[in-house]
């Protein structure tokens, strides 16, 4: 039973970064900008947030007020991702640059930048920023007894502030996209910017909004990923930014489906990471390195799923095309 609880809670903790980042991609693409830089944005968000947490740990503020410190770190992650995404927005919207190349450039830049900064701060060779362990929400946070039952494992084993915030941001996305003026206008800009322009909507402003929101969510996603992995930040987010793009496509650019897709992918990720401790998986004896085989799983599933779903995808029609007022 406890293993089931473990799998569920692990799945959730891995689904959180996927969903946040995929929702970020969704905002950007609905505004008409392909945000390939999500991977890089995650790295920058995680980098800044981890240093923030380390600082709180050293100053004593963190251990004293763990969840307040965590909230600050989440905001730092979001804001730093937002600032980094400004680079993409400027290139894609003002300079009308190719968005794929712009995003790839940022992805190449971010990990290198992170390594340099990490070394500069921690000293040569110390590539990992450790995350303090007080950030976890435990029974003690609510003044309860620590237990070891099913519910204890299910809820508290991997409970971080990022999870409730992700749930909140999911509902915000759901309402914002389909119930508000902002969502309607944002989607119009990604589908038919000339139409939006002709009814007086500022396409450039909406696209900036889309990219910046995606930067905010991507940055938080970077922190959430680092927490989920649990072994500290070493200037990489393991391709999660790209996996999130696949989740977004699988989720048809819609919030509810994106949430479903991220849970689906996270489950495979958990199976991949913890295959040896999950009893009902085939042991594949005789194979030398079966864990590698399992670790391939989320990526193989991504490819297979995309082959079957991309045909019916409802991608925003104008995404990736720089908007120029002059062309009709």
């Amino acid at each position: 039973m406890n293993i089931l609880a473990n799998i569920i809670s692990l799945t959730i903790v891995f689904a959180v970064p996927l969903m946040l980042v995929a929702l970020g991609g969704m905002y950007s693409e609905h505004s008409g900008v392909i945000n390939l830089a999500l991977e890089g944005i995650m790295v920058i968000g995680a980098l800044c947030a981890c240093f923030t947490l380390q600082g709180f740990d050293r100053s004593g503020f963190g251990p004293a007020h763990p969840q307040l410190a965590m909230l600050c770190a989440i905001l730092v992650a979001g804001l730093s991702g937002m600032v980094f995404s400004l680079l993409l927005a400027f290139a894609a919207i003002n300079l009308k640059a190719d968005q794929t190349i712009g995003g790839t450039a940022l992805n190449t830049f971010a990990p290198a930048f992170a390594v340099v900064v990490t070394w500069a701060v921690q000293g040569q060779g110390l590539t990992t920023i450790q995350i303090p362990n007080w950030i976890r929400i435990t029974q003690a946070t609510f003044g309860m007894e620590a237990g070891n039952g099913f519910l204890d494992s299910l809820i508290f084993k991997y409970f971080y502030l990022t999870t409730p915030i992700a749930v909140l941001l999911f509902f915000v996305a759901w309402i914002l996209m389909y119930r508000t003026r902002f969502g309607l206008r944002l989607r119009a800009c990604g589908e038919h910017p000339q139409a939006a322009d002709s009814v007086g909507i500022n396409v450039y402003k909406m696209r900036y909004a889309g990219v910046l929101i995606s930067g905010f969510l991507g940055g938080i996603g970077g922190l959430a990923y680092t927490i989920a992995v649990g072994s500290g930040f070493n200037s990489s987010v393991g391709g999660y930014g790209f996996l999130a793009l696949a989740v977004m496509i699988f989720g048809n650019w819609k919030p509810v489906q994106i949430m479903g897709a991220s849970i689906f992918f996270a489950l495979f990720k958990v199976i991949a990471a913890y295959n040896s401790s999950i009893p009902f998986l085939p042991k594949l004896e005789g194979l030398k390195d079966k864990s590698s085989l399992y670790q391939m799983l989320p990526y193989v599933v991504t490819m297979i799923v995309l082959i079957f779903t991309s045909k019916h995808s409802q991608a925003p029609k104008a995404e990736g095309i720089p908007y120029d007022k002059g062309t009709r």
Binding site: R185, A195, K317
Partner: protein, 508 residues
């Protein structure tokens, strides 16, 4: 008392790099009139209207609304002044509902949430009052072009606009829808709204407009009262010379069969039934055969099947005695088939290529134009220049003009030049005059007749009854994927054709 003008555009000049699109143009719109703006493609009509709607800024000139000078910097300004526009290419978000499209940009919100109830009521009221039938919850990509246009009109009414600009609204409509639109426009006039109606179809101007201003090559030619003018005078003002509105042709002398279509069946891309069902017909050398019918009755798919754009599921196509049922498009082209496609942007031209490259699209592999895989650009340039001269294709920079920047009429001329110069046995022309002005139509009709007289077989598809009656030697009417009648244009009437096109009658 001074005239009651609702809009005055005085001495408007607008330049684009290399071209003066509007040169000192003055246009005065009276309150409650339908004012037609007539001109050839590229005469500057759309530019002038874009200036009025705030999409472009004029370099010189002033705009007055109700006698007061105003600045229109963007569509929001135009909207505040009560000016609305139905664009030639609809500005609708295809995956949105009709209602979402109408409210976009002027949404009502309460506590940040969109309020649909009041918007829906206002749309339904307007829809009823003006006879603009729409389904507010339908998704735009699912509805007909006619209904999409009604959505565009409702967008203007929803914003309480009183000056309505229609940019070539009839180009995309069927004859029935055009009649409906005319009725709707008369309704607006009765309500005191003022209408600017851009078109180059003389019959529509004569039918609905009160006055007409004519532009030619960016210059203002004059304004006439429709009551005191004729089609001939309007076309002379527009083109600057006398235009032959009737097709001049001699009796046809059909020769042997060039194209033989037998039991052709083509599947539909949009529904599960076949779009073309067991269709058989011949086209002989020296005749023009026209497939007539209301849009969407299988004409497009029939041509796709004949030209190889779509795989057919039954029947045979024979060209000059050679079975080309399963031939590739290049093989068909080599066998003597030329195709002037329905959608010149999708199938006719590579829009971002220069004109010269478009001219050799089907022949670049010919040893004349390449040597061991390297294109001989000198030869291509020479060839393109010859076609440009011979067919009078006008463009900004000659052979190196990017196709996208050319006017519709000249794009079509370029395609016709390329297709005719191949010296085909069979010329397939699908709506070759769609959206073109009388000068260009006259030219294209004369080219098709010349091909016929040179002993070529011509297969024409047309939705314009005018063209169907004037150009061909034989008419085949298509209804729901079948040929329901064959007519001699000299012995039939528009009314009779209409009955067959609507499916009310069928020849057995």
């Amino acid at each position: 008392m001074a005239q009651d003008y609702v809009i005055e555009m005085l001495h408007i000049t607008k330049e684009f790099p290399g071209i003066k699109a509007n040169d000192d143009i003055t246009l005065q719109l009276k309150r409650g009139e339908i004012h037609a703006l007539l001109g050839e493609n590229g005469a500057g009509k759309s530019t002038l209207m874009s200036v009025l709607f705030g999409l472009y800024q004029a370099e010189q000139g002033t705009i007055k609304k109700d006698g007061k000078e105003v600045q229109i910097k963007d569509p929001n300004d135009a909207n505040r002044l009560g000016i609305g526009m139905v664009h030639q290419h609809f500005k609708l978000v295809e995956c949105f509902s009709v209602l979402d499209n109408i409210i976009l940009g002027v949404e009502d919100t309460k506590n940040g949430f969109l309020q649909y109830a009041s918007a829906r009521k206002k749309v339904m009221d307007l829809s009823e009052r003006y006879g603009l039938k729409v389904d507010p919850d339908a998704i735009v990509s699912d509805i007909s072009v006619g209904m999409q246009q009604r959505v565009e009109i409702l967008k203007m009414l929803y914003r309480d606009n009183e000056v309505l600009i229609f940019d070539e609204p009839t180009a995309v409509l069927t004859p029935q829808e055009i009649d409906e639109l005319m009725e709707i426009m008369r309704g607006f006039r009765k309500e005191g709204k003022s209408i600017l109606f851009i078109t180059h179809k003389l019959a529509e101007i004569m039918a609905v407009a009160d006055r007409c201003s004519v532009l030619r090559k960016g210059k203002y030619i004059g304004t006439v009262d429709i009551a005191n003018t004729t089609k001939e005078e309007l076309s002379r003002m527009m083109v600057g010379r006398d235009v032959q509105l009737e097709v001049q042709k001699k009796e046809s002398k059909p020769g042997e069969t060039i194209l033989a279509v037998r039991d052709l069946t083509v599947p539909s891309r949009t529904h599960n039934n076949n779009a073309v069902k067991n269709v058989s017909f011949d086209v002989r050398a020296g005749e023009i055969v026209c497939i007539a019918g209301i849009e969407g009755n299988g004409q497009t798919e029939l041509i796709y099947g004949i030209t190889g754009l779509e795989k057919i599921t039954g029947g045979t196509v024979t060209l000059n005695g050679k079975d080309i049922t399963h031939a590739s498009i290049r093989e068909r082209s080599k066998a003597g088939m030329s195709h002037i496609p329905e959608d010149r942007h999708k199938h006719g031209l590579v829009l971002d290529y220069p004109l010269e490259a478009n001219m050799v699209l089907q022949r670049y592999w010919d040893p004349k134009f390449q040597n061991k895989g390297i294109i001989k650009y000198g030869e291509v340039r020479k060839y393109a220049n010859r076609l440009i001269e011979q067919f009078d294709v006008r463009s900004g920079q000659g052979p190196i003009t990017i196709a996208r920047s050319m006017s519709g009429g000249n794009q079509q001329k370029a395609i016709i030049a390329r297709e005719i110069d191949k010296d085909p046995q069979l010329l397939v022309a699908v709506q070759p005059t769609r959206g073109l002005d009388v000068g260009a139509i006259e030219y294209i009709h004369s080219q098709l007749v010349a091909q016929r007289d040179a002993g070529k077989a011509v297969l024409l598809v047309s939705l314009e009854l005018d063209e169907v009656m004037k150009l061909p030697d034989r008419i085949l009417v298509m209804y729901e994927g079948e040929i329901v009648g064959e007519f001699n244009p000299k012995e039939t009437t528009v009314e009779e054709l209409g009955l067959y096109m609507a499916g009310a009658k069928k020849q057995s």
